[in-house]
């Protein structure tokens, strides 16, 4: 090694890391390997994934777990189309609507092969995966990637008023009829005991009971009323009711409605608003 190389070598950062972390047989490495091998391998048909769309990162506070859990319950109760009485259990609810195929999860712990088979029956080449996540992201779309092929894009089904702490209000995906590309979509599911959570991490702490009470007090009312009630507290943040866009306070008319309100860990309130109730 010459002198230049020796000097460069001196610049190498040194990290003190637990031996179990560095060990390829350690728990962190083993878990990562399993997670990767759980991902769809594209060996059979190498593809160029062009659009990677992780859902919005955690910016807000946790929402009641019951709301998110409700998604699966409601989906499971919805009737499945088809003649001849009760259908065999489906892993997915797939409904053709006006120009779209809407997909929601019915069985969050089904074998991924069942999802693929049910989607393939609708001529959809979509890898659908469920990963363990925190209560507020159960049933929500955590991640989408779509091939670069031109054509209509996959959309998420948003449920205004049913939003996670991250302003993620998705409860399913909506695939345009004629979608001929391939995609991978990751939903959150309830974690089994001992599983490591994926997706947005839960907020480090919950909001105070007082902040939650103030959020409840303004839900369903007019923005003007909410502003009056929250004037003495921390600044309020605003999102569209589907959680897709943050709004400036000045752009939100007082006559609009508060569809949903969440108390943040720092006790400030986020309002999901719309022009109509």
């Amino acid at each position: 090694m010459n002198e230049v190389d020796r000097l460069v070598r001196m610049l190498a950062p040194h990290h003190e890391v637990s031996p179990s972390t560095v060990d390829a047989a350690g728990p962190a490495a083993e878990q990562l390997m399993r997670e990767i091998m759980h991902q769809p391998s594209l060996e059979a048909a190498p593809r160029r994934w062009a659009r990677l769309s992780p859902r919005r990162p955690l910016v807000l506070a946790p929402v009641a777990a019951g709301l998110a859990a409700l998604i699966f319950v409601v989906a499971a109760l919805l009737p499945l189309s088809g003649p001849g009485g009760p259908q065999p259990a489906h892993a997915l609810q797939i409904v053709r609507t006006d120009g779209y195929i809407e997909i929601k999860i019915v069985d969050p712990v089904a074998d991924p092969a069942r999802y693929r088979a049910e989607l393939a029956a609708h001529d959809l080449d979509i890898e659908l995966e469920l990963v363990p996540t925190g209560p507020d992201h159960v049933g929500r779309v955590l991640f989408e990637e779509v091939l670069s092929d031109p054509g209509p894009a996959i959309e998420t089904i948003e449920a205004p008023g049913n939003c996670a702490a991250t302003a993620n209000c998705s409860v399913g995906i909506r695939v345009p009829v004629g979608f001929e590309s391939s995609a991978r979509v990751v939903f959150g599911r309830t974690a089994r005991p001992g599983e490591t959570l994926q997706g947005p991490m839960p907020a480090p702490q919950d909001a105070s009971e007082d902040a939650k009470r103030r959020a409840r007090a303004v839900t369903g009312g007019r923005v003007d009323d909410a502003r009056a009630k929250l004037a003495s507290g921390p600044p309020v943040t605003y999102f569209t009711s589907d959680g897709t866009q943050q709004l400036k306070a000045a752009d939100v008319p007082g006559t609009w409605y508060v569809i949903h309100a969440i108390a943040m860990p720092d006790d400030h309130i986020t309002l999901f608003v719309a022009a109509t109730p």
Binding site: R9, A12, E16, D23, M33, Q39
Partner: protein
């Protein structure tokens, strides 16, 4: 929590050299399993042979240890998806090449994958980064180089790769790698002699 030194591995150039030898040997052992059609077996062997070296490579180039976890995850995810593209004799070098591109993407953008590396990130959050041993002037001269020059020098000095191995990582011919290395060394030597560096403080 930072574990006591006695209970830690120092992921440094020196240790990398050790792992580099081990990794190279294991990498050479990998082709036997490549005879197997079972992608799972092949990936497991590749992963176990290269994980430590790849983690070291990425840690030394990441803005933070936590960020390194995501880069390692994305790199192995690419490997999983492109298993048949990985050269049998140079799996470790191929991974370095992928990691290099993943690192560039991570610096440019937000997280791109599902959160595969939650536990690794959690464990690396407690990693302690020691300051460089080099005088400040050496670091300044190095920082004055282009990223391309810096990386070719790092690959040789930190990963202890030969010019032919550097060529695999960078995706160029061995001859081109030798020329790049020669020029990078010369430019670094020139930078060390710049007037802004106080003469005599760069000790041999």
């Amino acid at each position: 929590m930072i574990r006591p030194r006695a209970d830690t591995w120092v992921v440094s150039g020196r240790l990398t050299r050790l792992h580099g030898v081990k990794g190279a040997m294991l990498t050479r052992a990998v082709p036997a399993s490549f005879e197997d059609d079972d992608a799972v077996t092949r990936f497991e062997e590749l992963y176990r042979a290269c994980y430590t070296d790849l983690l070291g490579y990425v840690l030394r180039r990441s803005e933070s240890p936590e960020a390194a976890a995501d880069v390692v995850a994305d790199t192995f995810l690419v490997a999983w998806r492109r298993l048949h593209d990985i050269p049998r004799d140079h799996a470790r070098l191929w991974l370095f090449g992928v990691a290099r591109r993943v690192l560039a993407n991570h610096r440019r953008s937000v997280r791109r994958t599902a959160d595969l590396a939650a536990r690794l990130r959690q464990e690396l959050a407690s990693a302690h980064r020691d300051p460089s041993e080099a005088p400040d002037e050496v670091g300044q001269a190095f920082d004055a180089l282009s990223e391309a020059d810096r990386e070719v020098l790092r690959l040789v000095a930190w990963e202890e790769l030969s010019a032919a191995e550097v060529a695999v990582v960078l995706g160029c011919s061995a001859n081109a790698a030798r020329i790049r290395l020669h020029r990078a060394r010369r430019r670094f030597a020139d930078a060390l002699r710049q007037p802004s560096l106080t003469a005599g403080e760069v000790r041999p």
